[in-house]
Every structure is written in structure tokens, then in C-alpha cells.
């Protein structure tokens, strides 16, 4: 590790820390319907949305109604995105003349679920598959509203904790509208302008063929990139305009844009943690969650950075310098952009998987085994470390409920969290969510490790599903595990190296995204409903304290333990085995110095 690298990570964290409170206060005001500085310019838009949708924002919903609204909204969005992709050949803004040939039904299904669930897993390369119209009307729109729906669910869960003896948890349509109008719209407008200023392109012109100095022909892609890029980060969507995602110079041209893009990922989740404390009437509760998230984030970032900077021992043995010097970054630079270097690549990988963003500025597949395990583990914990817009807070609250339930008994009282008793119903729903996520990752990975389809058949043309991996051995296993962890966690980042554009993978990855969004999150809405109906208990010195360092460590321990106990066997056959193989004497001997 270098001083420069450590400083970059620490400064990044300090900026997030500084933003949490103001953003939290802003979010809290927006979702309570209070006036903010953005109301004068945007109030008309919010009102227009309500008028067009026939929505009364004051009309409160029970958790079941809230959930049905969410499901209905998602179902309609899904059908819309699916149809537009399949029909892109008949639609405007298609200078490359893409048609149904590029988007098979299973790919369209996968992509539709992917964008509706805020996952943005991409089994395709955008620049060679989708028209500008699909990118703008279908995908970018979903980038806004699927993120807004995610925030809405978090706000509903916060209300569950904050309200007392209430049957309702807010209005989904109002939350959705407010998140879009006051949060994502201004943020992405600002972001897009900034990105343009740094060199991100925004054009509707077709790809530009040019002749290079050597005389070869090169196609320079075009497209409305900046408008999608800002919301891709702020909405923790992560679906790039280009296949190379944020590693592409047209998406992420400079170290500055890189830094800002990472901040965009964390700013809303960090604000939501603060908002939680503010809404339950004790900001320390929010800071406790923030502290647990921060500790896990910093641990992951430094762990990843350490192993990336340490580099590949086999290269060192071959006499290749892997030390960081003033002139070169050293470490493991395979799959990393020179303009970002080791630190920003490791940091970006950690940030994008802590949150359920999934944008990448380097190829995670090329990370060292343990460096690459960091993004994997981040997703296996359920992306609770800040998390995607809202998804992280929800997951962290789920773990808080579990931690409080187990450890809370140890103070000799029925467990309670921020004044709400944690009882049968909450535990049951929390377990449903946890089991759903674990089952999705484990079962799909298991199936894809051993299933054999006929070669050149419909389901998986390569034949055995394990044959789709580029690297056999433990690394190949990591590629499969990563894919299902990423989709179940609604992250969308790819380890790469796994060909997933076959009906089998498109279908199962699509199902994993569905489970990760709905089977995981609906129980949490149920918890919100159940908690909202409860009394708030008085706080005494006999109350389990949920704001101190003790609780923070307990929460961190619970997150790690649950993930470790569920996935340790799988990880031991993937990155851990690979790590020991790489560093074992056997592997060393094979490389002649």
C-alpha cells in the first residue's frame, strides 16, 4: 500500500461522511412532503405526475397495498421494456438498424427483469445490440424509476420503525414520484452536465468509422451516454451504455469523473442511513448503522487494495517488477485502466458491490483471488454496506433485527429495536428473506456447476453449463458463483469470463434477479407493516442499547457470520482454493525465474 493510495480511500470516505447528514435531512424532508429548496422549481412536476396518474399523495396505504402497487408497477414496466426491445427494429432512433435478431426472447426477458429490478445485469454488449431508443426510452427510464421504487421501499421500512400504532406505511406512488422528481432528476441532470464537461459523449449520431494512422478502420461508437451515465451511478443501476462500462473512456474519462461516479453511488444510501435515525427520533441509531457500514466498507476496500497492490507472485518470480514506484503503479494491473491505477480500481470494485450498483471500471475477473473475493463477499452479504439506493439500508435493518433478536435476549428482555418489539412475525419474515437469497445463489450455482445440456441444443449451446466459463478450475467456479451472487443481490456487475447469453443462463439469472428483488424485499415490507402497527416501548437503562460501539460490532459480526456460515464452503472451492494454489510452492515451482 502507498500513502497516496491510503489517502485516496480515506478522503473518499470522509466526503461520504460529510454528505450523509445534509443528504439525509433533505431526503427526510422530501419523503415527509415538507418543503425543500427544490420545491419552487419542481413542485409543478410532482403535481403534474399525481394529476396524470390520478394519485392522491395523502392517501395512505397498508403494507399489502403498498406491495401490490410496487408489484403492479414492476409488472407493467417489465412488459414495456420487453416489448420495446423486441420491437426495436420498428422504432425510431436506430441508426445502426438493430432488430429482433440481436435481441432474442430470452435475452429480452433477462434484460427486462434486469432493469426493472434495478440490477442492470447485461448479457449483451449495448453498443452492438440495442438502439438508442431502447437505451433511452426503456433502459434509462427504468434506471430512474426502478431506483426510485427501491428508495420508496426503504422509506416505507423506515416508516415502519418510526410510526406507532399505525396501520399504514405511506403511499407508494407518492414516494416513487418524490424520489424521481426531487432526488434522481436533479442529481442526474447535474451529473450529466458535469460528465459532459469532462469529456463524456452525448450524441444521437451513429457510430463513426475512422481510418487510423496505421491505415486500419476503427469504429468510434456514439450515443446519448452522459444522460445514462449519471443516473446509472446515482440510481446504483450500473448498466453501462458500453460493454466496457465505466472502464470505457466515453463513460468515465478521467480520475475525477471516476471519483465523482463513486460518490454518486454512495451518496443516497449514506443519506438514507442518517434519515433512518432522524425518522425514529434518535440520530445515533442512524449513525450506528452508518458506522457498521463504514467499518465493513473500509475493511473491504483496504483488503482488496492490499491484495491488488501485492500483485501476482508468479510475475514477481519471473523477475517482473511489481513494486509501486513514482513512475508505475505496480501490483496487479491486469484488466485495470492505467488512468485509474490500483487504488481507484480496488476502491471502485468495493464501492460498486457494497452498493448494488454493478458498474465496473476494471475487470473483476482479473483481480487476484482474494482481491476479487472482496466484491464477491460484498454481494454475498446481501449488499448491506451502504447498499444500493435503499436496498442496503433494508438489508442492514434485516441484519439489525436478527442481531437484536439473538443478542437482545442476552440482556434478559424480549428483543426490541428502536422501541419496537421483535417478535415471531418479524423473525419469520426476516428468515424468509434470508433463505430466499441464500437459496437463489446456492441452488442456481449448484445447478450451473453440473448440468449438462445437449451440445448445440436450445438451452445451452456449449453443452454442459460449466463449459460456459472461460477459465476452468476454482476461478471458473468463482465466475459462476459471482454471476448468481450479482443477480440475486441485484448488483449487476459481472466477473466476466462467463458466457451468460444462452437461454439457460438468461432464464436462471433472470429468476435470481426476480427472487433478489421481490422475494427478498417483500418480506421486509411485511416487517414494515407489522412494526408500524406496534407501540413504541419506552427507553430505559434496561433497554438493549443499539447505538454504541458494542452494537455496531455486534451488527458487523452478524453480517459477516451469516454470510460466512452460508457461503464459506462455496468460497473455499473458489477464491480461497485459487489463492492457496497461486501462492503454493507447487505453483511457484512451475514458473522458472
Amino acid at each position: 500500500m502507498t500513502f497516496n493510495g491510503v489517502a485516496q480511500i480515506v478522503i473518499f470516505f470522509l466526503i461520504v461522511l460529510a454528505l450523509a447528514k445534509p443528504v439525509g435531512i433533505f431526503l427526510s424532508r422530501v419523503f415527509n412532503g415538507h418543503r425543500t429548496f427544490l420545491h419552487p422549481p419542481l413542485r409543478w412536476l410532482e403535481a403534474l405526475c399525481y394529476r396524470l396518474g390520478g394519485v392522491d399523495p395523502e392517501q395512505e396505504q397498508r403494507w399489502t397495498q403498498y406491495a401490490i402497487s410496487l408489484l403492479a408497477f414492476s409488472a407493467v414496466s417489465f412488459l414495456f421494456v420487453y416489448a420495446i426491445q423486441r420491437l426495436q427494429g420498428f422504432l425510431p432512433l436506430n441508426p445502426q438498424h438493430f432488430g429482433g435478431k440481436q435481441v432474442s426472447p430470452d435475452l429480452a426477458f433477462n434484460t427486462a427483469i434486469s432493469f426493472v429490478t434495478n440490477t442492470n445485469w447485461q448479457s449483451y454488449a449495448g453498443e452492438t445490440t440495442l438502439s438508442y431508443f431502447v437505451q433511452m426510452a426503456a433502459l434509462t427510464v427504468q434506471n430512474f424509476v426502478s431506483a426510485a421504487a427501491g428508495v420508496a421501499m426503504s422509506v416505507a421500512l423506515i416508516r415502519g420503525f418510526a410510526r406507532r400504532e399505525s396501520k399504514t406505511i405511506g403511499n407508494f406512488w407518492a414516494d416513487l414520484t418524490r424520489a424521481t422528481v426531487y432526488v434522481f432528476l436533479p442529481l442526474s441532470l447535474l451529473g450529466a452536465l458535469f460528465l459532459c464537461s469532462q469529456g463524456v459523449i452525448q450524441t444521437l449520431r451513429p457510430n463513426l468509422p475512422v481510418r487510423t494512422v496505421q491505415g486500419a478502420t476503427q469504429v468510434i461508437p456514439g450515443g446519448p451516454v452522459a444522460s445514462q451515465e449519471a443516473i446509472k451511478m446515482a440510481g446504483t443501476n450500473g448498466g453501462g451504455f458500453f460493454n466496457a462500462n465505466s472502464a470505457h473512456p466515453f463513460e468515465n474519462p478521467t480520475p475525477l469523473t471516476d471519483y465523482v461516479e463513486m460518490l454518486f453511488i454512495f451518496v443516497i444510501p449514506a443519506g438514507l442511513a442518517y434519515m433512518f435515525g432522524r425518522e425514529v427520533g434518535d440520530t445515533r441509531q442512524g449513525w450506528a448503522l452508518f458506522a457498521a457500514m463504514s467499518a465493513l466498507f473500509l475493511a473491504g476496500a483496504f483488503f482488496c487494495y492490499h491484495f491488488e497492490q501485492r500483485g501476482n507472485p508468479l510475475l514477481a518470480r519471473m523477475g517482473i517488477a511489481t513494486q509501486a514506484t513514482a513512475g508505475q503503479p505496480g501490483g496487479n494491473m491486469e484488466g485495470k485502466e492505467v488512468r485509474f491505477g490500483i487504488t481507484d480500481s480496488a476502491l471502485f470494485a468495493t464501492v460498486t458491490t457494497d452498493a448494488s450498483c454493478g458498474a465496473v471500471n476494471s475487470m473483476h475477473d482479473s483481480f487476484t483471488p482474494l482481491g476479487g473475493m472482496v466484491p464477491l463477499v460484498n454481494m454475498l452479504t446481501g449488499e448491506v454496506i451502504f447498499g444500493g439506493v435503499g436496498a442496503g439500508l433494508k438489508g442492514m435493518l434485516l441484519f439489525a433485527i436478527l442481531a437484536v433478536f439473538i443478542a437482545g435476549l442476552m440482556v434478559g428482555r424480549t428483543p426490541e429495536y428502536v422501541g419496537k418489539k421483535i417478535e415471531q412475525k418479524e423473525v419469520k419474515l426476516a428468515m424468509v428473506a434470508l433463505i430466499a437469497a441464500a437459496a437463489s445463489i446456492l441452488v442456481f450455482t449448484a445447478l450451473s456447476s453440473v448440468l449438462r445440456f445437449p451440445a448445440h441444443g436450445y438451452w445451452n449451446p456449449p453443452g454442459p453449463t460449466a463449459a460456459n466459463v472461460a477459465n476452468p478450475g476454482p476461478h471458473g467456479f468463482s465466475e459462476i458463483l459471482y454471476a448468481y451472487a450479482s443477480t440475486t443481490g441485484n448488483n449487476g456487475s459481472a466477473f466476466a469470463g462467463l458466457n451468460t447469453n444462452t437461454p439457460w443462463y438468461n432464464l436462471t439469472l433472470g429468476l435470481a434477479m426476480f427472487i433478489g428483488r421481490f422475494i427478498f424485499l417483500l418480506p421486509l415490507l411485511g416487517i414494515a407493516g407489522s412494526l408500524a402497527a406496534k407501540k413504541r416501548l419506552a427507553v430505559t437503562s434496561g433497554t438493549f442499547p443499539t447505538h454504541g460501539p458494542l452494537f455496531v460490532s455486534l451488527l458487523i459480526g452478524t453480517v459477516i457470520l451469516v454470510a460466512a456460515l452460508t457461503f464459506f464452503p462455496a468460497l473455499s472451492l473458489g477464491p480461497i482454493a485459487e489463492h492457496y494454489l497461486l501462492f503454493s510452492r507447487h505453483a511457484m515451482a512451475a514458473v522458472k525465474p
Binding site: I406, G412, E423, A438, S449, V450, L561, P569
Partner: protein, 703 residues
């Protein structure tokens, strides 16, 4: 305390079979009869239908059965590796049996007590009133509403209320207390319990319960655990560990495919066998808490009974742990039941000895505790002792009308009583009342005491200061409660001035003066509305609504049937201070559950480090680095983990039955301590534990 024979077990060990009827005896944890009985029941509980109620142990039993079948098949076909399968299967069966044994131990104590209670429930003949005469009928034919006669020596045939007469009753069957109690018609001491014995006099009793629903029946059912329902918190915990079991089932079931991929990729090793996978699953699922959960609950109820409190449900015991506010009756709970004389304050021109002498004379025949305390104080202060009233003395008892008592000795008329009453007496006798003496009385009232003015005919001699005496150690106990976040509220009929003074002295957080039953009820509702749980004690019929409203209502056994019905606990000793212990037991019960759950889950980390390298080192030899315990062979590693998993259940049975160590302190302190012991401890302990077992296993050549 030692002369009592509580109906349930306690720490003093005895041995030998329980052959005698009558009050049940104490039973120790390691009683031979109990151990035998529990061992027998442990096998009976292997029935799959019974096991299905406990998902965790059911999975273990299923695994054990599967391996047994594999073993038989292996022997039949002469396959290799049978000895390993045999040992794993054996230890899985032990795991189930140990868990069953824990539950049986907890139940056996209750069952033994129920047996001896049942012996007292012999069939008796009742003298039922039919018109003017009585007829003899079997007690089992009595219905609610029947009226029976009970004379000295009769066993009262059923629960009821005394409608006529007064009698002394031996209730040792129920309470274990040998001193007889008085039961009389009307008022708050009218309830009698079936199975108790009338010692003197004769009463008429109206039966209030039908056969099979009597207090004794309920008590038997409760100690036996026959009607034991899982408490809400226990159910929630069960859901959690069942959910974890399912997650581990998924983690283990997906291992063969993962391994198959890796075997193909590495070109070495093999997919783990069913035996190893079963062993891994059993090690991972929370068997420690799963095996001990019900034992903890039963033992918690049992501990309540050791304090001679009968909890009507486990839920009530749990709620006791959650209580935020305790309503404590002043008299008998916070203060000693009676006021005591603490000071003689003579009027101007009177000596203390003169006042003491008159006060003592007027109290010699006064059998009230206040009167006795005056005699004692006079003895202590002025050495007046062993005096007899002259034969001609005529004692005037206290009456609510005169508000005085005293003695007439010839022409000398001594009186003591309320200030105004005695002042009036002095004036009638032709004396004058010094203003100073009245002022002294007022001062005593203000300080929370009761002034008792003494007069000798027309001469007002002075004032005796009677004071409520706060029980020793009460202030400290209330301070402990405060540290645990529990507010104490004193309930008293006294005026606010007196109440405030005592409240301050006892260190309660709040008081309710001149409390009517309705005030109590309102106070409870108000506390509950603010999100607090309330516990209280009560005995009178007018306490019943408040007892029913409170989250924990402890009725005194000496109280009325209505009160006992309304509360969710009955204190057989009728000692209101017991509420504090009950709160402690409730907390200890929840703490024990939490501690063992945490311990159980934390244990898994070490088991992974034992079994994962054992399974996968054949595929990727580099994974031997994960074998941090340096266990000898893959077989010995798996076997050691399974043995550790089984033995830890046995090792923790005493903890489950006795409850974790508990000292009142704040939640933060408790959490820090328990998290360190059971969380961090649970993480570390299995590493040396499994290593030691591995050494032994190797030494014995088991694997």
C-alpha cells in the same frame, strides 16, 4: 426458610426414593431417581412424531437414521468404511439422546413433584348441605355452588369460599408452610383450597370449582408441564433456528455439485460422501440451542416454582423479564407490615421516663404490633420491663369511634391515640392541651410518621412517634432495579405527605397516595399507554381488575379467589416482595436462551475449519492450509467435530437448567459481559475442544 418444604426442587440435595406422601420434598439436580427417569424418557422421546416438534433435532435424527440404514447396507454388502460410518451414526444418535435427556431432566423434576401432589389429592367424603341436614358424598361429585360443612380434622373437599364461620386451616399441602392460617367468611381471607385440612372450629364452604378444574389440579398440570404451551418468544426463537437449519441444509445440499465441478476441474479427489455431509450438516445446524431450548423453558418455570410462585403460563414468566414498572404495596412490601414506636417526645414539664411508663402501661394489654413496639421501646429507653397490670386494671381496646385505647387502673385513666381524640379526652377530664404538644404531633405527621398522644387523666404527657419501618436492604434492591431500567412505584392508602416521606426513605421512583383500586387501574393503563410493562401484587377482590390489567399480576395465596383468578401468578407464600425475584427469573430465562443461541451459532466457525479441509483437501491439496487445528486425518477431523457437537450439549445441560449467571445491572453491562462469554467464547472454545478430542480419537485409534 429452611423449615419450609417448598413443593419444588431447590439446591439442598437429598437422596432416596420419594415414598412418603404429604408435602413434597426438595429435589436436587443430580437426584438419582430423576436421572434414571430422565434417561428412560430420553429414549421414549426418540419417536419421530415427538421429534417433529423440534425441527433441528428432527434433522439430526433423520441423519442418524439414514446413516444407520447405510451402515446396515454396508455390512450386508461388505462395503469398506463401515467403521467410520458406524462411529458417526453412533454419535449422531448420542446427539439426539443427549438433547432428549436434557428435556427429560427438566420435565422429570416437575413430574416427580406432580406425583407427590397427586398423592395428596386422595378421594375424601364431603359433608354436603342439603336443606338443613348434611349428607356424605364423594368429593369428586361436588359441583360449583354446592355448600359443604368442614369441621376440625376434615379435609376441605374442593376449592371454595367460606360463607360462614372461622377456622384455622393447614395449607402445607399447597404452600409447604406448616403454620396454620385463618380462614373466615367475608373479607379477603375467605378462599380455601381443596386438599387442605381444617385444624380447629367449623366452617361452611361454598364450592367454586368443578372436579378436574380445582387449584390443585391446575397446580399438578402446571408443575408437570402437561399443558405447557410454547411461549411467544420461544416460538420466535424456534423459527429462527429452524430457518438457520434450512439455510445450512441448502449449504450442505449444494456442496456435492460444487465439489463435482471442482473434482472435474482439478482432476483429483472425490465428491464428499453422504456420511461426511450428514456429519457436516449436524455440526452446522444449531443443535446446542435446538437441543436445550425446551429444557430452558421448563427449567425457567421450575425456578419460579422453587420460589413457591405458581406461574399460570410461561408467557407470564417471560413478561416478568420485560417489566418496566413495578407497583409495590407499601405495607408488607416496602415497609415492615406495622408501624413501630421509635421515639418518646414528652410534653413540657414531663420526663421521658414518665411518658414511657404511662405509654407502656396503656399498651401492656394491647396486642397490636404498635402496642408491642411501645412496650419494647420503653424497655429499651427507660429499662421498664417485666411489668404486670394490677388485677383491677381494665383494658379499653381501640375502636374506630373513639380512636383511642388505654387502661383504667382504679381512678387512674391512661389513654393513647390520635391527637384530636386524646386532646378531646384531656379537655373532658378538665385538663388543658399544650400548644407545643399539638405542634410536635404535626411535625411527626409531616415527616411521614404517626403521632400517638398519651394522656394520664387531665394531664397530657406527650407523644409517641410511630414510624413505618422500611425493610432492610429495600433501598439497595430498588436501586438495582433502577439500574436495570425498572421503575418502582409505591402504592399506599396514606396521605400524600406521609407517602412522600416514606417514598423518599425507601428510594422508590414514584408513589400513589390515598390509592383507590380505580387509581391503581388508571395508573397501570397510563403506564401501558406510554409503552411500559407493569407488574403488581394484590390480594383483595378489589385488586382483581388491576391484577388482570397488569402485564404481570402476582396474587397472594392468602387472597381471594377473584384475585387469584385475575392474576397470572400466585405466590404461595403470600410474600409481595417475591415480585422482585420473579422479575429476575424472567430475565434469567431470556438471557439463558440468548446466550446459548449465540454460543451455538458462534461454534460453527470452528467446525467449518475442521470439516472443510477434511472434505476438500483431496480435491485441492492447497486447502490443507485451512486445517488450522492440525487435525490428524480427514476422518478424525469429522469425527472430532461431531463428538464435540454432541458433548457440548451434555456439558451445557446444567447451565440450561440452572440458568446463566445473573446479577442485576444495566442492559449495556449485561450485553457486554454475555457477548464476551457466549459470543467470543463460543467462537474460541471449539478450536481447542475439537483439537483435544482429535488427540483422544487418535490415541484410541477410532479414526
Amino acid at each position: 426458610m429452611n423449615d419450609k418444604a417448598p413443593i419444588t426442587a431447590s439446591a439442598a440435595p437429598t437422596s432416596g426414593p420419594a415414598s412418603h406422601a404429604g408435602p413434597p420434598r426438595r429435589l436436587s439436580l443430580a437426584d438419582a431417581t430423576i436421572l434414571r427417569r430422565a434417561a428412560r424418557d430420553a429414549f421414549a422421546k426418540l419417536h419421530p412424531l415427538k421429534m417433529a416438534a423440534n425441527p433441528v433435532m428432527f434433522v439430526v435424527e433423520a441423519g442418524a437414521a439414514l446413516l444407520t440404514i447405510l451402515l446396515i447396507r454396508g455390512w450386508w454388502l461388505g462395503l469398506p468404511g463401515n467403521s467410520f460410518t458406524f462411529q458417526i451414526a453412533l454419535w449422531l444418535w448420542f446427539t439426539v439422546l443427549f438433547a432428549n435427556f436434557a428435556e427429560a431432566m427438566a420435565e422429570a423434576r416437575g413430574k416427580a413433584q406432580a406425583d407427590s401432589l397427586r398423592k395428596t389429592k386422595s378421594e375424601t367424603l364431603a359433608k354436603k348441605l342439603a336443606g338443613d341436614r348434611t349428607e356424605s358424598v364423594p368429593s369428586s361429585s361436588l359441583r360449583a355452588g354446592d355448600v359443604v360443612m368442614c369441621a376440625a380434622g376434615d379435609i376441605i373437599p374442593g376449592d371454595g369460599e367460606v360463607v360462614e364461620g372461622i377456622a384455622t386451616v393447614d395449607e402445607s399441602v399447597i404452600t409447604g408452610e406448616s403454620a396454620p392460617v385463618i380462614r373466615e367468611s367475608g373479607g379477603d381471607r375467605s378462599a380455601v383450597t381443596g386438599g387442605t385440612k381444617v385444624l380447629s372450629d367449623e366452617i361452611r364452604v361454598r364450592i367454586t370449582s368443578n372436579p378436574g378444574e380445582t387449584f390443585l389440579d391446575r397446580m399438578i398440570a402446571l408443575v408437570e408441564g402437561a399443558q405447557r404451551q410454547k411461549t411467544p418468544n420461544e416460538i420466535a426463537l424456534n423459527i429462527l433456528i429452524a430457518g438457520l437449519t434450512l439455510i445450512f441444509l441448502l449449504a450442505v445440499a449444494t456442496l456435492p455439485p460444487f465439489a463435482a465441478f471442482s473434482v472435474r476441474a482439478a482432476g483429483a479427489g472425490q465428491v464428499p460422501s453422504v456420511v461426511v455431509l450428514s456429519a457436516l450438516l449436524v455440526c452446522l445446524i444449531p443443535t446446542t440451542i435446538g437441543g436445550l431450548l425446551s429444557a430452558i423453558g421448563i427449567a425457567g418455570m421450575d425456578r419460579v416454582m422453587q420460589h413457591n410462585v405458581l406461574a399460570m403460563s410461561g408467557k407470564a414468566v417471560e413478561a416478568a423479564g420485560d417489566v418496566n414498572t413495578l407497583l409495590l404495596d407499601k405495607t408488607g412490601t416496602i415497609t415492615l407490615g406495622n408501624r413501630q414506636a421509635v421515639e418518646f417526645l414528652p410534653a413540657p414539664g414531663v420526663t421521658e421516663a414518665e411518658l414511657a411508663d404511662a405509654a407502656q402501661l396503656s399498651s401492656l394489654a394491647d396486642e397490636t404490633p404498635e402496642g408491642r413496639s411501645i412496650v419494647v421501646l420503653a424497655k429499651e429507653r427507660c429499662g421498664l420491663r417485666g411489668r404486670e397490670l394490677p388485677g383491677a386494671a381494665h383494658f379499653i381496646p381501640f375502636s374506630a369511634y373513639t380512636r383511642m385505647s388505654g387502661v383504667d387502673m382504679g381512678r387512674r385513666r391512661l389513654r393513647k391515640g390520635a391527637t384530636e381524640a386524646v386532646a378531646e379526652f384531656v379537655r373532658q377530664e378538665g385538663g388543658t392541651v399544650p400548644e407545643d404538644a399539638i405542634e410536635v404531633s404535626r411535625g411527626i405527621s409531616r415527616s411521614g410518621g404517626t403521632p400517638l398522644v398519651v394522656a394520664d387523666g387531665p394531664r397530657l404527657l406527650g407523644t409517641v412517634h410511630l414510624k413505618d419501618i422500611v425493610k432492610g436492604g429495600m433501598k439497595e434492591r430498588l436501586a438495582q432495579l433502577r439500574a436495570m431500567g425498572i421503575r418502582s412505584v409505591m402504592i399506599t392508602g396514606d396521605n400524600p405527605l406521609t407517602a412522600a416521606a416514606i417514598a423518599q426513605e425507601a428510594g422508590v421512583d414514584d408513589f400513589l397516595a390515598q390509592a383507590t383500586p380505580k387509581d391503581k387501574l388508571d395508573y397501570i393503563r397510563q403506564e401501558q399507554a406510554a409503552g411500559r410493562l407493569v407488574a403488581m401484587t394484590g390480594d383483595g377482590t378489589n385488586d382483581a381488575p388491576a391484577l388482570a390489567q397488569a402485564d404481570v399480576g402476582v396474587a397472594m395465596n392468602s387472597g381471594t379467589m377473584a384475585a387469584k383468578e385475575a392474576g397470572n401468578m400466585v405466590d404461595l407464600d403470600s410474600n409481595p416482595t417475591k415480585l422482585l425475584e420473579v422479575v429476575g427469573i424472567g430475565k434469567q430465562l431470556l438471557m439463558t436462551r440468548g446466550a446459548l443461541t449465540t454460543f451455538s451459532i458462534a461454534n460453527d466457525v470452528a467446525k467449518y475449519f475442521a470439516i472443510i479441509p477434511a472434505m476438500f483437501a483431496v480435491i485441492y491439496p492447497a486447502l490443507r492450509h485451512l486445517n488450522v487445528m492440525r487435525l490428524a486425518t480427514p476422518q478424525s477431523a469429522v469425527l472430532s467435530a461431531v463428538i464435540f457437537n454432541a458433548l457440548i450439549i451434555i456439558a451445557l445441560i446444567p447451565l440450561a437448567l440452572r440458568g446463566v449467571h445473573y446479577r442485576p445491572s444495566s442492559a449495556a453491562t449485561l450485553l457486554r459481559r454475555n457477548l464476551l462469554i457466549y459470543g467470543v467464547g463460543g467462537l474460541i472454545v471449539p478450536f481447542p475442544g475439537i483439537w483435544i478430542i482429535d488427540v483422544v480419537v487418535r490415541a484410541l485409534h477410532w479414526a
